[in-house]
Symmetry: C2
Subunit: 271 residues, 2 copies
């Protein structure tokens, strides 16, 4: 594990991922827009760089964990990034973005002889810290094999959706849509029960030990009860319900549930 | 188990419930609107009756499994039914109805000195046949204790929501809403994936072994994949999303997701 890896993006997810790579023995050259965030990682052996291209080793591996499509595009198009990555270099992109953004990125990398692996992950920051993310990946086989040890170091499981970049982000958007739909449904059910005099705890206990005895219902159920029946929106929920709907529409379909969830997540964010 | 039980309603759910009570050793007097449906149960020791009141033993137990609020109300208000059930008699009502219908039924029974236990169940007909229903119940404690052996004979678990009739139907409507919401969400996700060239089987495999590793997602996931991404509507889905929305609204809340699901279930039923 002596290979030096470039690492870009220390957000809520990127920070624990970088920390786990460092404690697994990887050497990281790290860039983050807000430079001060790199500091806690220096003690773990990380080194700080001040531009995207400066984390890149020719023909090496660079990992990015960006917040959205625009942030990912801005890194890839930043001065010297692709030129330096060059022939045989691999970009492991862990952001959740539109599949077409991912395909556009893959094409740009191909123009410079480098490879693009998309690997969006499921899991909250606590799961990332505990190396319990679930990874969806897609990209050229040899490139996926090269980055596999990194993905193993940060996750509890890797699901491979083939060589066509875009597929893993489609699955990720499906999963986020199902999570947000479940969360909002739980909130609507528990509010209906509470308003009618039934203890939401009893409803959650019954349903999550029988029909819905799985992680999402158990964790969101408990959290929504504690939050007085409210499923908290955030910008990720707004972004991903929007991307889901766009992706459905661009393929000629409709997504009325995603449309409503996008509206509700937006309203709850503003209120 | 020598007590003779009255039994009304041999629909998709009532039939396997009656069969399991008979094979558990109960003697049943059975009424069904379509009389010919009783025939297969005669060989198991059931006896046929031709009106609701004729299945009733004074002070005994009568079980009903009706399709909706109107059918339940018509049984309870039928000639001689409550009069004959009389003092100490117990009506175990397994239909899924509006909580206010259930409360109205309980009040009518109280006027005649008899007791009303609501016990809506979760489970498809196959689960009912295998004694794998989940029961939600509410009603007076002594009455619930009296009917408990019957519920144990037909289910894999009983959840008691107290003495206030209505509570168990509120929980049942919450559960059906969550099931229908999950089913429709899975359909929307798998259709989006398939339209974008991703194998729905791979999506279901990934999600139901990780975040959603529970009965509803596994069974509906497989069924929806087999049905080309369509979540089949039926009159129960239309009825219960409608009852959920009404119950939310009557308590002063709104239920935008239930409203949309009700519309979608209605459209899919008609098309």
């Amino acid at each position: 594990m002596s290979e030096t890896i470039g690492f870009i993006g220390l957000g809520l997810l990127g920070m624990p991922v970088a920390r786990n790579l460092l404690t697994s023995g990887y050497t990281l050259k790290i860039y983050n827009r807000t430079a001060s965030k790199v500091e806690p990682l220096l003690a773990l052996g990380g080194t700080q760089r001040y531009s995207p291209q400066d984390v890149v080793t020719s023909g090496g591996i660079v990992v990015s964990v960006m917040s959205d499509d625009a942030a990912l595009e801005s890194i890839v198009s930043s001065e010297g990034f692709l030129e330096r990555l060059g022939k045989g270099g691999v970009h492991l992109a862990m952001s959740t973005v539109a599949p077409e953004t991912s395909r556009k990125m893959a094409a740009l990398h191909a123009e410079h002889g480098c490879l693009y692996v998309e690997a969006p992950v499921f899991g909250r920051p606590e799961a990332a810290a505990a190396r319990e993310l679930w990874v969806c990946c897609a990209g050229e086989q040899a490139a996926k094999e090269r980055v596999r040890p990194l993905l193993e170091a940060i996750s509890q499981g890797i699901f491979d959706f083939g060589e066509q970049v875009g597929a893993a982000n489609i699955v990720k958007l499906c999963g986020n849509f199902l999570i947000i739909s479940a969360g909002r449904s739980i909130a609507e059910a528990l509010t209906m029960a509470a308003n009618n005099g039934v203890d939401p705890n009893a409803v959650v206990d019954m349903l999550t030990t029988t029909l819905f005895s799985c992680f999402i219902y158990q964790s969101y159920g408990a959290r929504i009860v504690a939050n007085s029946g409210v499923y908290q929106s955030n910008w990720i929920a707004v972004k991903d319900t929007g991307l889901f709907e766009q992706t459905a529409q661009k393929a000629g379909g409709s997504a009325p549930l995603a449309h409503l969830l996008h509206e509700i997540m937006q309203e709850n964010l503003l209120s």
